[in-house]
């Protein structure tokens, strides 16, 4: 690979790559507004027909609601456990905390299909197949690395003497956490929560394995939509999901611009 680092050519090529990343996603938007009966760009004019179909469809609405509920519950678990864990690792700074931090990254590394196989077997034994509890717990485990990483990063900029000062002024352990530590970690907790939510909201492989009649999340509905009847409703859902992603990313991107970079 020989790349000529010319001032002009290289950025242009980089923009071409970025266009390759963005264009397919952008194309979904006009297709969702198509006036045709099938998946295609609009021909005569724009139409909201498929958006109507989407919002009028009980299946899609149930799926949307389920994904929202599961996502929020999994996020709550992952963020509370993850934040406490990151603080614990930061306070301990010993061999054990290094081990815990390494173990927590494992769900990011092991292919989800492997986890899904094991989960199916274990859930079959304890009767959690096709249950919301089961999906929420699995998603919380998959999402856990993100708050641990983001809160851990926020802690590198947090001065431990603030905690000592609060203690010296008579604050209890709980007061230190609530009034000093957590407020200082707000940005890290927020981006951890966003990442955790997206992990659950977007998760398909585990759900495909452990869900039956009851659990029908949005990714599962999109999956069966793509495989069974490919119609423009899916383009409308896809557009909706892109909009949600953009909204969720605004605080994250703003944070990354202002947050001091680690050297």
């Amino acid at each position: 690979m020989v790349v000529a680092p010319k001032r002009r050519v290289l950025p242009v090529l980089a923009w071409v790559v970025l266009l390759f990343l963005l264009l397919p996603c952008i194309l979904v938007v006009p297709v969702s507004l198509t006036d045709t009966d099938y998946l295609a760009m609009p021909e005569q004019g724009l139409s909201l027909r498929w958006w109507h179909t989407l919002f009028a469809s009980p299946e899609w609405m149930v799926a949307l609601g389920q994904s929202l509920g599961i996502g929020l519950a999994a996020t709550a678990i992952a963020v509370s456990a993850g934040t406490l864990c990151a603080i614990g690792c930061w306070r301990a700074r010993n061999r054990w905390s290094a081990l815990v931090r390494a173990l927590i990254l494992v769900p990011m590394i092991v292919p989800t299909v492997v986890y899904a196989l094991g989960l199916f077997r274990v859930y079959a034994k304890v009767g959690l197949l096709d249950s919301f509890t089961g999906v929420i717990l699995a998603h919380a485990a998959l999402a856990l690395p993100y708050p641990v990483l983001t809160v851990g990063a926020a802690l590198t900029n947090f001065d431990p003497r603030l905690e000592q000062a609060a203690r010296n002024l008579g604050a209890s352990g709980w007061q230190v956490l609530r009034l000093v530590t957590l407020p200082n970690l707000k940005a890290g907790i927020l981006s951890g929560a966003i990442f955790a939510f997206v992990v659950s909201w977007d998760e398909l492989v585990v759900v495909l394995f452990i869900a039956g009649r009851r659990v029908h999340t949005l990714p599962r509905q999109i999956w069966s939509g793509i495989r069974e009847n490919l119609d423009p409703t899916i383009a409308a859902v896809a557009t909706l999901l892109i909009a949600v992603t953009l909204l969720a990313l605004i605080p994250v991107l703003r944070g990354s611009r202002t947050a001091p970079k680690e050297a």
């Binding site: 020989v2 790349v3 290289l10 950025p11 090529l13 980089a14 790559v17 970025l18 390759f20 990343l21 963005l22 397919p24 996603c25 194309l27 979904v28 509370s80 456990a81 993850g82 406490l84 864990c85 603080i87 306070r91 301990a92 010993n94 815990v100 990254l105 494992v106 769900p107 990011m108 590394i109 092991v110 292919p111 299909v113 492997v114 986890y115 196989l117 094991g118 989960l119 077997r121 274990v122 919380a140 998959l142 856990l144 990483l149 997206v198 977007d202 398909l204 492989v205 999109i222 999956w223 793509i226 495989r227 383009a235 896809a238 999901l241 992603t245 969720a248 990313l249 994250v252 611009r257």
Partner: protein, 282 residues
Amino acid sequence: MALSAQQRPGLRAALWMLPAVLLLLITYFVPLLDVLTTSVTEPRPGLNNYAGLLTDTGAQRIILTTLRISLTATLIAVGLGYLVAYAMVTGSPRRRVVMFACVMVPFWISILVRTFAWILLLRTEGIVNNGLITLHLIDDPLDMLYSETGVLIGTVHYMVPIAAMTLYGQMEGIDQRLITAARGLGAGPVFAFRTVFLPLSLPGIAAASVLIFIGGIGYFIVPALLGGGKTLMLAEYIGLLITTTVNWGLGTALATVLVAIVLMLLFAVSRLVDIRRAFGST
């Protein structure tokens, strides 16, 4: 109790980690261990499933296809990601922010949405074929979907943002003044890049390659939707073994092989770079 915990800060900190550790052990590591034990107990105890893999040409072909597609996609994605990361690291802060956003947005857009977008573009009556036919560049639509090409395009699309972020994270640590110094000593831009910047960015290239290759061999959704059952990759095949033929022994053995490959590669890359940093930057 509070007093004794205060005297032992390590123990107290362990209590903070407890909820996360319990969640991970019970809902993650127990199932993972179950896969491993199933692979040596189903249908009967022993290493039969692994011995069977040695003669199973079907499974071997799928492993090879998986490795081939992941490797090709990794090389392309690292090349493209390098271009973006280099443009970011050498650009103005403004360009860096805009490019960063352009990388992060597709990264966080649902993989199902992105795969669906490629179906729209690549299918027989899709946007690319219609466009090419309207422009009279081709007469008959090209078969891009439900083939290895389709899987490759979708996989590369998924990998480029990860490659770009990992590479950027490493390149940020390279002192840009070294290039200036090389230029000042009379090196041309290409020469300065090849002899100074490229060697310094090699650890990043290695880390990014291994990380996205590891991810790639486990992809399920992209090959399942863009391969259309014709181009099977390992993760989808494992799924099929369980859902259609209910062959738990072979399925879990292949899953264990998949994890083993991933862990070996991860170990190799941990010798080269600090993995936690590479993950933190994605």
